[in-house]
């Protein structure tokens, strides 16, 4: 979507963008669902109900084209949406993966029948989606995955194992990448399926993480059945479809990330004042640096968005935010622990939880090492080793 060149650099919002933001703020003020209840199931139903409300107001699937139930929101509007929801401390929608990834993938690669069948239930949160990509032996090297799908009597029989599957126990559909042809180079023998999670052949086991709870799951798939109509993008095209999914995953992280960093930073400064260390020169230097890096993250994102909107192609600054966000978040949570000293390791504080949870920020959604490889190879043009 080409942008007419503005008369000058402009970091303020345009009238249309401001209108969008003001309308959203007003709606949020009136429709905020209140505090999320404790307990996994209660919290999930709370978020599902919240998503229904968002959908009625036309805010679910914001980035989707209007013809598929979305708003065709610009990248800036999507970023504003992420920021405003974070600022309002609103909960996320229940079907985040369906909204951010599943829907866009079906829109980009699906048949008309698939669009007809799958998109509306994503928006209404009637059908929850999860992602079946990573395997115990295939993380960064995703293309090496081994879950196998074999055609038999007109349908696909799937067996294998998946890991790091969020929402598996709530999901109806799994975005599953499996190997359909073991005799061609690894990237070419993959197919993207929509697998029904509600069959006995799919066993779900919670995956407990260092924070204590289990956001993720493992899937043990033993001869699950997937109808042929559930192939997305054609047999053997799984890698291209998977890449679309991953691109949307990374873009989705950008929207609210800078805003939530800013909020956490405010809390960190409050913590420093409470503990009486806000005059300590070393603490001031560390907080100052985190502040600057958080701003650099936000500004890089805006520059990146401008480039995409103008040219359709992200500039180098666009590949940096996810990497930077992990570093800033980790630096913040580490500083909070340092400020809290001996009370830091005691369970129960939000900071203690965040500190442990942040260790995954440099791994989930693409490890920092892989992101650096991408920057080195695709942005700087350095040669590959492997």
């Amino acid at each position: 979507m080409a942008l007419a060149c503005a008369a000058f650099v402009d970091l303020t919002l345009s009238p249309t963008e401001q209108e969008f933001r003001d309308e959203l703020r007003g709606w949020l003020a009136e429709n905020h669902p209140g505090e999320e209840p404790k307990g996994d199931d209660a919290a999930f139903e709370f978020r599902r109900d919240w998503q229904r409300r968002l959908h009625q107001a036309g805010y679910a699937g914001l980035s989707w084209p209007r013809e598929y139930g979305g708003r065709g929101a610009t990248l800036i509007e999507q970023a504003i949406f992420g920021e405003e929801l974070t600022r309002a401390k609103a909960p996320p929608a229940a079907n985040v993966l369906g909204l951010a990834m599943g829907g866009p993938v079906v829109i980009a690669h699906g048949s008309d029948e698939q669009k007809e069948r799958y998109l509306e239930p994503i928006l209404s949160a009637e059908e929850i989606w999860c992602q079946g990509f990573s395997e115990p032996d295939s993380g960064s090297d995703l293309a090496s995955l081994k879950t196998r799908a074999v055609k038999s009597n007109g349908e696909w029989v799937v067996s294998g194992q998946k890991v790091w599957t969020t929402f598996a126990h709530k999901a109806k559909w799994c975005m599953l990448v499996a190997r359909t042809d073991p005799d061609v180079p690894k990237h070419q023998g993959l197919t993207y399926f929509l697998m029904d999670m509600q069959q006995d052949a799919v066993q779900i086991r919670p995956l407990r993480q260092i924070t204590g709870e289990a956001e993720f799951n493992e899937l043990f798939i033993e001869e699950a059945r997937v109808p042929d109509e559930n192939v997305v993008g054609g047999v053997g095209n799984g890698w291209a479809v998977a890449i679309t999914t991953l691109m949307h995953e990374r873009a989705g992280l950008g929207a609210g990330a800078a805003a939530s960093v800013k909020i956490a930073l405010g809390q960190l400064m409050e913590l420093a004042r409470e503990r009486g260390v806000d005059g300590d020169p070393l603490i001031r230097q560390r907080i100052g640096q985190i502040y600057i890096e958080a701003e650099a993250l936000r500004l890089n994102s805006w520059r990146g968005l401008t480039q995409i909107m103008k040219t359709g192609v992200p500039g180098p600054e666009g590949s940096l935010p996810k990497w930077q966000w992990g570093e800033v978040n980790q630096a913040m949570t580490e500083l909070a622990m340092d400020i809290r000293g001996e009370e830091a390791p005691v369970r129960g504080s939000e900071w203690t939880y965040r500190f442990l949870r942040a260790r995954a920020n440099s791994i989930e959604g693409g490890t920092t090492e892989i992101l650096k490889n991408i920057i080195a190879e695709r942005v700087l043009g350095l040669p590959k080793l492997r």
Binding site: P281, N300, W302, R303, A376, L382
Partner: protein
Amino acid sequence: MNFDFSDDQQAIKRTAKEMLAERFKLEKVRELAEAGEYHEEAWTEMCELGWAGIFIDDKHGGQGLGLVELAILCEELGYALAPVPFLSNAAAGLALQIAGTEEQRQRWLPGIASGEARGTLGLLRAGEAKLVPDAVGAEVIVLLTGDGAQVVEAANAEIEPLDVIDATRPYAAVRADGGDSLAGEGGDSPYRLATALAAELTGVAQRALEMAVEYARDRKQFGRPIGAYQAVSHRCAQMLLEVEGARSTSYYAAWCGDAEPESLALAGSMAKAYASDAGWRVTASALQVLGGIGFTWEHDLHFFLKRAKVDGVLYGTAEEYRDNVARLAGLSREPATA
């Protein structure tokens, strides 16, 4: 929302890049640096193009443009490491433009805009400005103190040239009494010149990044380009991250200077703090990628390395600006005394 330059600004950037690439091939930069000389002809040409007065009112002989345009030029000049007295002259011009009386402006700005009677600026601490670029040959010197600003005629100042590691620019220590006062502490000009300097550092770092990447692609060891090894390629990725961070924060500060001046103090502090570190870290990292050859006088990298180091402490250190960020971000008022 459009975080990119306008067509006119892109044109200024393009023209500057082309002109500087033509005038200042690295052999020329080296030749001038080793002779301890400036390129007078190029300076005259730049002034004729309106660069020196780009942010100065047109009634005082300038182009009437803004901090964004100045930052664009500073970045390109840093990239080229052009041996001309541009930044110092701009620093004086900024202070006089923002905080000078009409009389002071009329007296000094035309000479600064035309380059014929250039100025410079120093930070006065305990009666001495320790590191003043281009003091010799300047007509007018602006001295910023913690709580005021003075403008003195160079003829009335004690100027002691220094032998500094950055051979691409002469520096001096300056002592002066009296002189005329400028309004306040020079208005917000300290943050404008911090932004200009951050932009220069961005250009310097960008050049070093390109040298490192080119080398990593061409240099072969163990049968392949060294850039294929992740220790090297990841180092380069880190360099890109820091260059882009310096760029984004500098451009933002420049925009604030023109469009949202109430945010300039914080934005300029962020830009100078970040760019001070990035300039040094990126050039030092580039030296590491270059290996042995990066340590030779014969390779051009050290000129960039040294400029980055000096710029990092010029007009305030990263630590000072970072503390300012903490203060302006609302942490609390002052650091505790030791």
